[in-house]
């Protein structure tokens, strides 16, 4: 009797231990994403778009049976649009295990996170910050960027400028780091291409009355205006430029300007405004068509630039988990170096030297599509325009 029980016990244990690999396979560690973005503060608008797309990407992955046989779990936190707020909420998420971070908008927030990735044992995918230094001087082994950076945008805009007929230009830029950088670039490029910059204006952040600026631009009698402004200021400027009739005499060209939210906020003032586009629903690849179709089904409209870029960033995390066969941030980061995969932009390479995703870049125009104004991709520029990694970065 006792012997039989013993045999039974042995059989049972062997059975369990034989079964256990199967059990383990279905109960692999989940992919834990920490989505940190602006739910309040200056970047709220973009933050909401980014978070919407991250959540969409996670739902979609789970509906398809997960990633690498794992469930995808997500926690969301508000960075209050400040580095200090981001540091707090990202640290909380990372320490609670949601250490595959994604989502902040501003470059200063991205810089803060990069300084802390080793401490929190986390990894971070940049989807919206454009500062060169993030994949240059301040690059980090655990930080990856899936959107275009300023150098890529400007290299493309320079190429595009060669095809532009206008000769006399005016500039209006936001009076802070980025606006000045953009102005310097444009002045230099215009000179190289034999064009003339007649007036460069800087508007302090938070300017509401643009009448004096518009008047100066109009008086300067320019063919086109290079606009490097952000957020609410950009909305005010575009509206006022329209009501003062600047658009009729001079074409507006936007550097990081023609976002869907700006188009929506300004009536038809942006109709015909050109600029660079980081992502557009019109991008003609198999994966993008699938993404746009699924998105349209759910939201009844095509994804915006910020939404597309954020979705693209989440796919990079998934790709890394698949390649590493692990969810540990260190392993995922290592596996992503020089990884090639099929993205919504087509074949993409995560360049190991600076962690900048190599994807094409776009110029487009705000136009009517199906009775609605939205930025439409008109020209695609290959990654070869920007082929050398920053010399300042050592990973």
């Amino acid at each position: 009797m006792k012997k039989r029980e013993l045999l039974k016990a042995i059989a049972l244990t062997t059975g369990i231990s034989l079964l256990s690999p199967l059990v383990a396979a279905s109960e692999k560690d989940p992919v834990r994403i920490g989505a940190v973005s602006s739910m309040s503060g200056v970047f709220e608008q973009q933050g909401q778009e980014v978070l919407r797309a991250i959540e969409f990407a996670v739902e979609e992955a789970n509906a398809k049976g997960g990633v690498d046989g794992r469930e995808v779990a997500i926690e969301v936190a508000d960075d209050e649009s400040t580095p200090d707020g981001a540091r707090r909420s990202a640290e909380k998420l990372a320490r609670e295990g949601h250490n595959l971070l994604i989502g902040p908008i501003s470059s200063s927030i991205s810089m803060t996170l990069s300084q802390n990735l080793d401490r929190w044992d986390a990894m971070y995918v940049v989807v919206a910050s454009k500062l060169d230094a993030l994949t240059g001087k301040s690059c980090h082994a655990r930080m990856f960027r899936t959107n275009h950076n300023d150098v890529m945008d400007l290299a493309m805009m320079k190429e595009w400028m060669k095809t532009v007929d206008e000769k006399k230009f005016g500039i209006i830029a936001a009076d802070y780091t980025w606006g000045h950088g953009s102005t310097e670039f444009f002045e230099k490029t215009a000179k190289e291409l034999g064009k003339e910059v007649k007036v460069s204006l800087f508007a302090p952040l938070g300017t509401k009355d643009f009448a004096p600026y518009v008047a100066q631009l109009r008086d300067a009698d320019v063919d086109a205006v290079w606009v490097a402004m952000v957020g609410r200021d950009a909305i005010s400027f575009v509206k006022q430029a329209d009501s003062f009739g600047l658009n009729d005499t001079s074409r507006l060209i936007g550097h990081a300007l023609i976002f869907q939210y700006l188009v929506d906020a300004t009536g038809d003032a942006t109709h015909g405004v050109w600029g660079n586009i980081g992502y557009g629903a019109d991008i003609d690849t198999e994966r993008n068509r699938q993404f746009v179709a699924a998105w349209t089904e759910k939201f009844g409209r095509v994804p915006t630039e910020n939404e597309g870029q954020a979705y693209n960033g989440v796919q990079l995390i998934f790709e890394g988990v698949k390649l590493a066969g692990s969810t540990a941030p260190g392993d995922v980061a290592k596996a992503l170096e020089d990884a090639e995969y099929e993205s919504i932009y087509g074949p993409a390479l995560m360049r190991g030297a600076d962690h900048q995703l190599q994807i094409p870049n776009y110029v487009g125009e705000v136009a009517q599509v199906d009775g609605k104004l939205r930025p439409v991709v008109e020209k695609t520029y290959p990654i070869s325009l920007y082929s050398t990694p920053s010399a300042d970065c050592s990973i």
Binding site: M39, S40, T82, P83, D84, R87, R88, E91, K92, R95, E96, S106, S107, S108, M111, T112, S114, Q115, N116, R119, L131, A133, S138, D175, Y176, T177, W178, H180, G181
Partner: protein, 326 residues
Amino acid sequence: MLHFKYLLWLAVGVLLPQLVGSATLMSLLTQSLIYALFALGVGILLRQCGLVSFGHAAFFGISGYSVALLMRDLELGAASAIVLTLVALAIVAFLLGLVVSRIPGIAFGMLTLAIGQTVYLSALKSRETLGGADGLNINWPSSIFGLDVRLFYDPASMFVISWVVMLVTIYLLDRLFRSRFGSITSAIRDNEERARFIGLHVMLPKAVVYALSAVVSGLAGVLSAIYTGFISPETLHWSVSGTALIMTILGGVRYLWGPILGAIFYFFVKEYVGELTDYWMAMLGAVVIFIVVFAPNGVSGLLMQLQERRQKRKQDVIVRRMEVRS
């Protein structure tokens, strides 16, 4: 007796990280402690001079920038950069204090606000040296004051370090304010005219308190810069000064530990109420109004009042018993 109390609090600070298991909670405590030191800086100015500053974020942020620049451009060691920064801050704040602390009441508040925002905008516009809106990464060497830099990154050990810094600061300030200097500044605060009549020099002591409060805020800024490894103009913004002021008012300034209690209270409300509702600021605002109206000495004042009342009741009981016996 006094020293014994400090040793006891030291033991509490060292033991606390052993008791708190969660690194998230520990990090929250560490950050609230750093801000507590900042609030203490704002608090001593209010306590000793009755002056409300809306610009102390300038001292909090400048110290981080200064240490970063001294290490990057002059290649100084971390310890000398920190000491040099605090000494320079003391001198500049003293000179500034000689001018601004002459101005009473709301005008002083406005002036400090203006100075603070000037510093903020200068940092925002300095693209080459300070990185403008994108801020600066601070690369700390492998050891600071002979301590392994990893001790400063880990929430538990950083908590102990900040705790010790805070205790030492409170101890020194307490000694100073219990001395003749403390009595003089209190006298000036209560009635500047009368203080002048009895022959006291009123400007120097005020400027010294202003400098002290700047240095304490700067010390908090250094701790924050070490812990975060990053500094940006947002740290200098007036809203940061406002936060420190709210902490100070919440905690009360009659006791030196008031602002510290206020900072911890603030962080925990933000963390836990903030998780329940987006309107945590509105609720905190209601608490601030309640405190200003009904408990002008803050949470610390309330606590002490409760304790006094309990002691009084105990004494009453003893007295009554004695009466019964006789």
